[in-house]
Amino acid sequence: MKLSLKLTTLLAPVFAIIVAFGLSTIMLYLIGEDPIETFKIMYDYGKTGKSIVSILNRSVPLYISAVAVAVGFKMGLFNIGVESQYLMGALLSAALGAAVALPSFLHITLIIFVAVISSAFWAAIAGYLKVKKGVHEVISTIMLNYIGTGIIAYLLANIFFEKVELSTTAPQTDLLPETARIPSLNAFLGIEDLPNLHGFIIGAVFIGILYYWIVWKTSLGFDLRATGSSPLAAKFSGANPARLTILAMMISGAFAGFVGIAPLTGYFFKYTTDFPSGLGFAGITVALLGRNHPVGMALGAILLSFLERSAQILDLKDVPKEIEKIMQAVIVLTVVVAYEVVKRYVTNRQIKEASKVVADD
């Protein structure tokens, strides 16, 4: 019985993906493109070796961002501010990482440490405002996104960047030295003729495990989940909601700090105005899609990266590649509805089962 219930839960994302494909088919048809042909082009392009490497590389920061959002979700907190949190961490760690000379292992550790700490403290502001001032975290994190973007732009242009007269170089931090770069996995795995596969992909796996361990295997995680599902019950069991809120925000922010590590140490090696942004918002999508489950979110991140990558080819075929954005959004919207329907079905089944057991006794 238990297994069949679990399988029913798996139906929800499958259903969502089918609905998304259905809707995009209709839309493509309406704008006069051949839907089957379009999906085939996307699939063919998405399964090339180059694309697979790109998809894996994309999904690393996306997955970590989803984990950061999920920590909040587990406690019923909505951290919409992952966006500015990870950018803040990436900027500060890029600036500091370029300024010091250390042996490789220490250097990378320092960069990660700085990113995690600064992101966590930026996130803590929202937690503090919620606990002490009663400001809802959705509003405060969104406002902090705008404020953070402004502060980052200021720091980047005026503090971490020497303006040269008459030069048109965009503001950027100094390049990270060789010791601060995480090597790619290509040599290790013996892959040739393909773009670099980030080394931090291993880090992402560890972050998934760390998330699982914190949320499901520690007493802190238990308190978080208890507060998330029933604040009152958690309070009577001795959890301190105020302390937990700030802590949960900080842990969420700390995970957000890892988001920028892969792009920074993997291929950008500096913070510039075109450092990848938007990962924080995409992370919300992935967290909803994967239902805050470490494996589910990994699959979600890979799915979204696949859609993003394979949509790139559409421009060459004169199909608007923005169809991919709609597919993403429809998947999210249907998946939250589908999960809710499944949840209700499962609860009803359980109630029936239980009453049957009681009746049999």
Binding site: L129, I147, I284, K325, I326
Partner: protein
Amino acid sequence: MSQTGKLKKHPRLLPMINFVKKHYLIILPIFFIVLIAQMDKYDQLTTSGTFGAAIRLAIPICLAGLGGMFSERTGIVNIGLEGMMIMGTWFGAWAAWLYGPWYGILAGILGGALFGLIHAVGTVTFQVDHIVSGVAINILAAGVARFLNVVAYADQPTQSSTQSPRIDGDVGDFTLPYLSGGADTPSLFGYLQDLNYPFISDIAGLLLGATSNLSYISIFSLALIPVAAWVLWSTPFGLQMRSVGELPTGSESLGVNVYLMKYIGVMISGGFAGLAGAYLVLESSGIYREGQTAGRGFIGLASMIFGNYRPFGIFMGSGLFGYADALQLRSDDAVHGLLILISLILFIFAIKQLLEKKYINSSISIALSIGFLVWFLNSETVPSEFVYFTPHLTTLIVLSSASQKLRMPQKVGQPYRKGELN
């Protein structure tokens, strides 16, 4: 105590003193702003131009806030306001470009209401968590706007995924005759403003800004504030809507169709947000641009909380945020003047905390106050990157100093299922 004792001899003064005591958090900043505006460098703080811009910027925030109110009064949290506003900007621009501005307004409202319907299906029928559904709405709106923009303007020379072509034609505007100089009459407020008397000229500037060159869309939007109040508090329909947010089981037992009311509430909410979006396009930019809403839907939500879920409170709140936005747009100097304002307010906070014997908080406030003062004295302008987030920072500060004495609808954010006790 002794002070009030003395004042008993002047019974007429007592209500005034009480008023000041109760609202000093509003009165003092206004007083300081007027004071600072007397300096030449900062006179942009209170000119009619600034106030005019403030009103224009406040209206979309106010509309979004009213939208939020309609939804939350029926018990549905609407984080999706931003997304509905994005739909308003896109549909508004598209229809205005095709047929003219008034069609743009209509299309904006319908586009927002359509997304309100989606939110209602998610939260009312399927009982998805309201915030999750709202976040999903925001993601969906961004994607849809982008896709539609590519498709709709595909054969235009300026085709792009993030912008619409420029929209021609406007709805005309209105200036109050005699007082503000409409229809070639003399302008009394303008005359007073030019005199440069302290306070009188500042107030004349406010009135002049509020009553000149107001477009008909602005007047229509402002008129919706009393209409919203009337509908919610003076009609049976409004009573039913509010009852659904307070005690759905009770309303159900009295024959109110709870689901229907919630649907209507969320769709009106979307319509307001859509109108706010269309307003942004038609009034400020004349073009649809991606990211144009810049969090104004959320600021609208903040103004709703600040305004305690009431139309006129929302108007006041959005006025404040609109003012911050206007300063940000019009003059970097004026924002520099705000530094000394923050310093003064923090100083007053420090004294208040000292009187309440919160010594640690007080010393933090003092330190911050001195910090802002030093910053003010040692700089000529505020960096433009900081100026840009003035409205967002104002939102945070205002919410954190005002959000504790609120009364929200009792069942807001909670799912309701027919036939269940809750």
